[in-house]
Symmetry: C7
Subunit: 98 residues, 7 copies
Amino acid sequence: MIRRLVLDVLKPHKPDVIELSEALSKLDGIEGINIIIYEIDQQVENAKVIIVGNGIDFENIKKKIEEMGATIHSVDEVAAGKIIVEEVKTPQDRFARM
Amino acid sequence: MIRRLVLDVLKPHKPDVIELSEALSKLDGIEGINIIIYEIDQQVENAKVIIVGNGIDFENIKKKIEEMGATIHSVDEVAAGKIIVEEVKTPQDRFARM
Amino acid sequence: MIRRLVLDVLKPHKPDVIELSEALSKLDGIEGINIIIYEIDQQVENAKVIIVGNGIDFENIKKKIEEMGATIHSVDEVAAGKIIVEEVKTPQDRFARM
Amino acid sequence: MIRRLVLDVLKPHKPDVIELSEALSKLDGIEGINIIIYEIDQQVENAKVIIVGNGIDFENIKKKIEEMGATIHSVDEVAAGKIIVEEVKTPQDRFARM
Amino acid sequence: MIRRLVLDVLKPHKPDVIELSEALSKLDGIEGINIIIYEIDQQVENAKVIIVGNGIDFENIKKKIEEMGATIHSVDEVAAGKIIVEEVKTPQDRFARM
Amino acid sequence: MIRRLVLDVLKPHKPDVIELSEALSKLDGIEGINIIIYEIDQQVENAKVIIVGNGIDFENIKKKIEEMGATIHSVDEVAAGKIIVEEVKTPQDRFARM
Amino acid sequence: MIRRLVLDVLKPHKPDVIELSEALSKLDGIEGINIIIYEIDQQVENAKVIIVGNGIDFENIKKKIEEMGATIHSVDEVAAGKIIVEEVKTPQDRFARM
């Protein structure tokens, strides 16, 4: 059971971030959505999309995102199971500046 | 259902930030407002506006902000759904210094 | 309803910070005050004043501050509404070192 | 009794991170899984896998990971016992940037 | 009503920090004291003194500190009112490295 | 009564970190173990071992670690007593980068 | 009433940190002890000793530390009173990197 997703999404300016978040938050199994616009170009916006729920259907999310003219660039984090497990930092983390 | 918005707003010195925050906090569906003035020029002020509520009506917010002579420069974050989802940091975050 | 204010205040050495904080904390609608002296010159002190309450009357605060020989240099943050909304960090924050 | 594992895993693009996390979260003794993709190459992805449970069977985890075409590159942290013990920082930590 | 004070105090080596903290903690209206020695010279010690209470009498504190041969160099923070208000960070903070 | 230990341990690759943590977590008086591998060489691994319990027997721990072919390089932190006391930072800390 | 002490202690290798922490934790009025070894030389070890209790007797602590061949190099922090007061950061803190 998928509990949380962090997606990197490329979207056109229209539909806007308000519409995209409302559309995603209405899908089955979704408890909440957070969308952060972290870069704006002339044609597109880069958005970090965090989705929390009980039994998130990834294909459903993907379909809705594409229906709105956007594309999933990458899936950066997935939490699955009975509980939402958070990241644990270790000295082996290669991604220095986190 | 929109639960939280982070807006970048450009406002004239008058009406002041006290008046703007009071006006926004009285709108339907709003539980609280935080306005931070992060830059002041001779003519205008740059404000970061955080709005929390149950069912925030973005068009309503926008109308009130414009009525007060200010403009929304960008929508930087939207949280929607039954719960307010917070950001999750990942190594893929391109915006290094956050 | 104003719930929290962050003010940048310029004050003379007398009345001192103890007197100023006691005077402000007695005003109607005030639950608590925090005053931080962050710069001291020969003639004046720069103070960051944080005011928390239920229905803070800004004009009242301003009047009391001026009665004590001090002036409000800027209003840096205002929280209004039923709940006190805290700041949310986003990658669009232009004020880098916060 | 193993309570938490942090693994560094090398995986092919397919099966994807959604499938891998769902498969691992269904194993006996697992309460939750978090998978973070921290590097993507043409052929493979580097993933940090955090597994929380009551009595995690490492051999079972390893078998499932390998069934899905991935390999455990290293075991970076293990928590065992009645409670999950978190890291404690000390001045002797040689791994400076943690 | 003063609830918390942060003082910068210059003290001789004797009486020592144990005696000073015990003496201050016994004054009326004081709930607790924290004294941090942050610099030691041949003759004197620089101490940061944090005082928490319900109705702290600053003149009383000052008198006791001076009785023990020490002097208040500055009053760096005052919290007053029904609740103890903590500092709130804003982009206007001029004191960069806090 | 020893409540928490932080040990720097040098271990061979075999027995692995899973076996070591399971063996230590079964000793009397142990509530939980966390082992972090922070450096791997061809012959050995450097591990930070955190042990939490009610009445930890250090000699017992040491014996078990040595039985498994590993050695305690140093004892970096010890918490003893009825409660587990955490570190307190002070300006006198000479170990700058903690 | 002393509630918490932070001491900088110079100790010989023997008795070791386990023995020192057990001995101190058994003294009257002590609830818990944390000893961090932050530097090891050929002859001595530098230890940061944090002591929490209800009515800590400093002379008693000092006597026990000296009985074990160690010496108190400095008293870096003292908390006294009915409650344990924690440090509060201010822009006047001269000890920059804390």
